[in-house]
């Protein structure tokens, strides 16, 4: 019993932290309708700055901690002013969510550059000596955490309920259009809510820092826990956020103590998935239901870049020629390997593009299927006599089975909730990869996977693997291209831009979305298997959630709904760090920053820019040709 109480108190400490972050989620969600995944990143940054001020520079804590909080809030507001606020006006809410995932990646990359990858510990505010109450010991920091959380809740409640500012925030939450008609400056309110959420996260970060260890990517854990807490409790409700946070804290601590630390996050994610099926709006619903027949996402779709028809095939042929010739020009094995990696990831990216770019279904868990494919075929190749090609199919089979189960959840969800569910799925697979040590090798990975071989030929060198993957890429690209430029792709695009109008024309939205999902899962699984065969090794972080986020970044940077766009993103993000080793440490930061910049300034991605350049070049040429030979030009045009 004593032990239970002891653990429960620990759970409440962690839960308070989750609750604080979840409150930030709810606040921004209520005011803007969007989710800010960078929340946990700010908590981490505040904690690390607090460490630098307080420990490295030796400032007294009473100065260092407030200074860290203030610095973080300023950074957050500036960042929001140039990214989040303009994005809200231009992007759909699901894309804003991915943009904030980019901000989170940026923060992670920044922390990596500044603080490196080692863990940090900050000292407790009032000494190491815990207090004892009849057999139960409570670290003094716990009281700081409880106190700060209570204070945050009270202050937030007062602000929202009792002040004019709070009235403005509430007006924005209820109806932004009406609020702006009433003279409320909605962008300023958005910025204010962002700043407030950052403040809450920063306070939570510095206060909880002494009871946990900090690393450059701890921010993601904070974000995810806060996010899961908010989603369980109800995204639109403050009491929901608090209850969700405390509940999640208790569940994780108790399951760590009584079941296994390896599965504690799996359990909380399962709870989340169950809540999403049973009550997608969370345990405590807030706000009003929307009218069904009005379009909810007018900002959803932009134009994808399209190659002028007569340039398509010649350019494709040229690209294939170049791709075939590359191994003769590239002698460096490192670069060759990165090319193979980029080509493998391209496979997954084509699938992701069908799902996200064409069907408009957000997925933040794509690497989860790479993991399922990779681990299944790796395990089979090591432990059985089965041919590698067959093991890949087995991996695809397992992936599809999981996808069908997951689709019970995802097909009912859209936008934000879909992103949430896929993220949760990816994280669940993550923790299974770590937890099922017998099958996956756990955190240290699955070793001894043989190279891929077919009919006696082994693809042992990067060059052999390159040609194998290239051939597969071309076949897949051709197939998908055929489908996407025909009725199938049009139906997906119609669903993406307006589900209800698509359904009213007789398009079976459920069937098409499921088909797009299964295509993307098949390709991700295939990519995961090839990845494992190529490295002869597979570890959880190779196919974890950061990989999922990286895939999204690659796709957006390269250019959505183009099929080939992903290749440019993959090449950029895999080749740059290899070509110049000093750049490697900036890779995380760059992928986040590029993702954010692409969302805001290059909606058509690198591919779109290239197409524009080409069209302009061809256009200039075309004009000359028209003058020389007007008749043939007209014949071509007709």
């Amino acid at each position: 019993m004593l032990e239970f109480v002891q653990i429960a108190i620990g759970g409440l400490v962690v839960g308070s932290m989750y609750a604080a972050i979840a409150l930030g989620f709810s606040l921004i969600y209520r005011v803007t309708g969007a989710i800010n995944l960078a929340q946990g990143g700010f908590a981490l940054i505040a904690a690390l700055i607090g460490y630098t001020f307080g420990v490295a520079w030796g400032w007294p804590l009473i100065v260092a901690i407030p200074a860290a909080v203030i610095a973080t809030v300023i950074a957050g507001v500036v960042l929001a002013r140039f990214t989040f606020v303009p994005a809200l006006a231009r992007l759909s809410n699901a894309n804003v969510l991915m943009l904030t995932a980019g901000i989170l990646t940026m923060i992670e990359g920044f922390s990596l550059v500044v603080w490196g990858s080692q863990p940090y510990a900050t000292p407790p505010f009032s000494g190491e000596q815990p207090l004892a109450f009849g057999g139960i010991t409570i670290p003094t920091q716990a009281f700081w955490v409880f106190g700060a959380t209570a204070l945050i809740i009270a202050a937030l409640w007062f602000l929202i309920a009792e002040t004019r500012l709070g009235k403005g925030l509430r007006a924005c939450a209820e109806n932004p259009a009406a609020a702006s008609l009433m003279g409320i400056d909605v962008p300023r309110m958005t910025l204010f809510s962002f700043g407030l959420a950052t403040l809450i996260a920063a306070i939570a970060g510095v206060i909880v820092a002494p009871s946990t260890s900090l690393q450059f990517d701890t921010g993601r854990l904070f974000t995810i826990s806060g996010f899961v807490a908010a989603a369980i409790g109800g995204m639109a409700s403050f009491p929901g956020a608090i209850i969700g946070g405390l509940f999640l804290g208790l569940v994780t601590q108790l399951s760590t103590a009584y079941i296994s630390s390896l599965f504690s996050s799996a359990i909380s994610l399962l709870i989340l998935l169950v809540v999403l099926i049973w009550r997608p709006q969370g345990l405590i619903a807030g706000g009003v239901a929307r009218r069904q027949d009005t379009r909810d996402d007018v900002k959803a779709a932009g134009h994808a870049a399209k190659l002028p028809a007569h340039l398509g095939w010649p350019l494709a042929a040229l690209a294939v020629l170049v791709a075939v010739a590359i191994p003769f020009a590239v002698t460096d094995n490192g670069i060759m390997s990165s090319l193979v990696i980029a080509a493998i990831l391209f496979m997954a990216l084509m699938g992701l593009d069908v799902l996200m770019g064409y069907a408009g279904q957000v997925s933040l868990g794509q690497a989860g299927f790479m993991a399922i494919g990779g681990y299944t075929s790796g395990y089979l190749a090591i432990n059985t006599e089965i041919a590698p090609a067959l093991s890949i199919f087995a991996g695809i089979g397992v992936s599809l089975a999981c996808a069908l189960v997951l689709s019970v959840v995802t097909l009912r969800l859209r936008g934000l909730y879909l992103a949430l569910a896929t993220l949760a799925f990816g994280l669940l697979i993550d923790s299974c990869a770590v937890g099922f040590i017998d099958i996956t090798g756990g955190p240290s990975g699955l070793v001894g996977i043989p190279s891929f071989s077919v009919a006696g030929f082994t693809f042992a060198t990067p060059r052999a693997m390159y040609y194998l993957v290239l051939a597969l890429d071309i076949v897949i690209l051709l197939g998908l291209f055929g489908a996407m430029r025909s009725g199938f792709g049009r139906a997906l695009q119609a669903i993406r831009s307006d589900q209800m109008a698509a359904a009213a024309l007789g398009i079976n939205t459920v069937r098409y979305k499921l088909a797009a999902f299964l295509i993307s899962v098949t390709l991700a699984s295939l990519a995961g298997s090839l990845y494992a065969f190529f490295f002869n090794f597979l570890a959880p972080e190779m196919v974890g959630t950061s990989r999922s986020l990286e895939l999204v970044a690659m796709l957006i940077i390269g250019g959505e709904s183009t099929l080939v766009g992903g290749l440019f993103g993959a090449l950029l993000l895999t080749l740059l760090p290899v070509m110049s080793a000093p750049l490697a440490i900036y890779k995380t930061f760059a992928s986040g920053a590029l993702l954010v910049a692409s969302f805001l300034h290059l909606p058509q991605g690198i591919y779109g820019v290239l197409i524009q350049l080409l069209t302009r070049l061809a256009g200039a040429r075309g004009e000359v040709a028209a003058k020389v030979n007007p008749v043939s030009d007209r014949v071509q045009a007709s």
């Binding site: 027949d293 932009g302 009725g487 199938f488 119609a494 831009s497 209800m500 359904a503 024309l505």
Partner: protein
């Protein structure tokens, strides 16, 4: 009581027969015992002041909203328990009040989506570039081109649909629905936001559709359009039918005049 009585008398000869339809949102009775028919080969107009419940009737007929009571029979088939997709595939095709062209697609692609329900769209066929799939694609494109030609939008074919003028977007939506070869076309305020010449074009298009033998149910505020084109008019106010008849009959009906003048003289012009 009366709802049950009228339910039994679903009109067998009508294309669409609505009996005793009812729907409440929270405490608000948005639709109360609404019954009317759409006859084959006719243009039927559904009119009424703002907020009368016209769009809600459409949503109830196409099962986008679940109804509280009532029966809807389309071409002899009860629509209860069918999904919006299944209803569309029976040939009841509707448009939406707010212009809903698909952004990110060109005008001709928009129209081609309308032809979706008529094709096979075998994924394998398209992915393998089979001749049959490409032929289907070619035919759809050709038919869509002809459709655009019909309403004089050929010039816009390759443009992004959202870049078309508002009037053209509205026409495009109607054409897209027409591309689906509907047995009944339901249009929700197709003339909203159109200028006089564009409205005239729309009137011509509606007459052409009637000539093709396709019955139309149209929600419209523009009275001159209604009076010019409609064969029958159904007037709804505060969720209940207050008059049914030819345009001339309805125009002189006291309750109709009252309903319009009582609220705002919106449609009286």
């Amino acid at each position: 009581m009366s709802a049950i009585d009228t339910q039994s008398q679903a009109n067998e000869t009508a294309m669409l027969s609505v009996r005793g339809l009812a729907k409440s949102f929270g405490g608000l009775k948005a639709i109360n015992d609404v019954s009317f028919d759409v006859r084959p080969g006719e243009v039927t107009a559904l009119i009424g002041p703002n907020g009368a419940g016209k769009t809600t009737v459409f949503n109830l007929v196409t099962n986008i909203l679940a109804r509280d009571a009532g029966r809807v029979v389309f071409a002899g088939r009860d629509l209860a328990n069918l999904s919006p997709v299944e209803i569309a595939n029976l040939g009841l095709v509707r448009t939406f009040q707010s212009a809903r062209v698909f952004p990110g697609m060109t005008a001709i692609e928009n129209v081609m989506v309308g032809g979706h329900r008529l094709g096979r769209h075998s994924l394998a066929g398209q992915a393998l570039w089979l001749w049959r799939a490409r032929e289907e694609e070619r035919r759809t494109r050709q038919r869509a081109g002809e459709m655009l030609e019909l309403v004089g939008l050929s010039g816009f074919a390759g443009m992004h649909a959202t870049e078309l003028p508002m009037g053209a977007q509205k026409l495009l939506e109607v054409v897209r629905a027409l591309m689906a070869q509907p047995k009944l076309l339901c249009l929700d305020e197709p003339a909203a936001g159109l200028n006089d010449t564009e409205t005239q074009e729309l009137a011509n298009l509606l007459r052409a559709i009637r000539k093709l033998g396709i019955p139309v149910l149209v929600v419209e505020h523009n009275m001159s359009l209604v009076m010019n084109v409609a064969d029958r008019v159904v007037v709804i106010d505060s969720g209940a039918i207050i008059a049914t008849g030819t345009p001339a009959e309805v125009q002189n009906n006291n309750r109709v005049i009252e309903a319009y003048l009582g609220k705002e003289d919106h449609g009286a012009s």
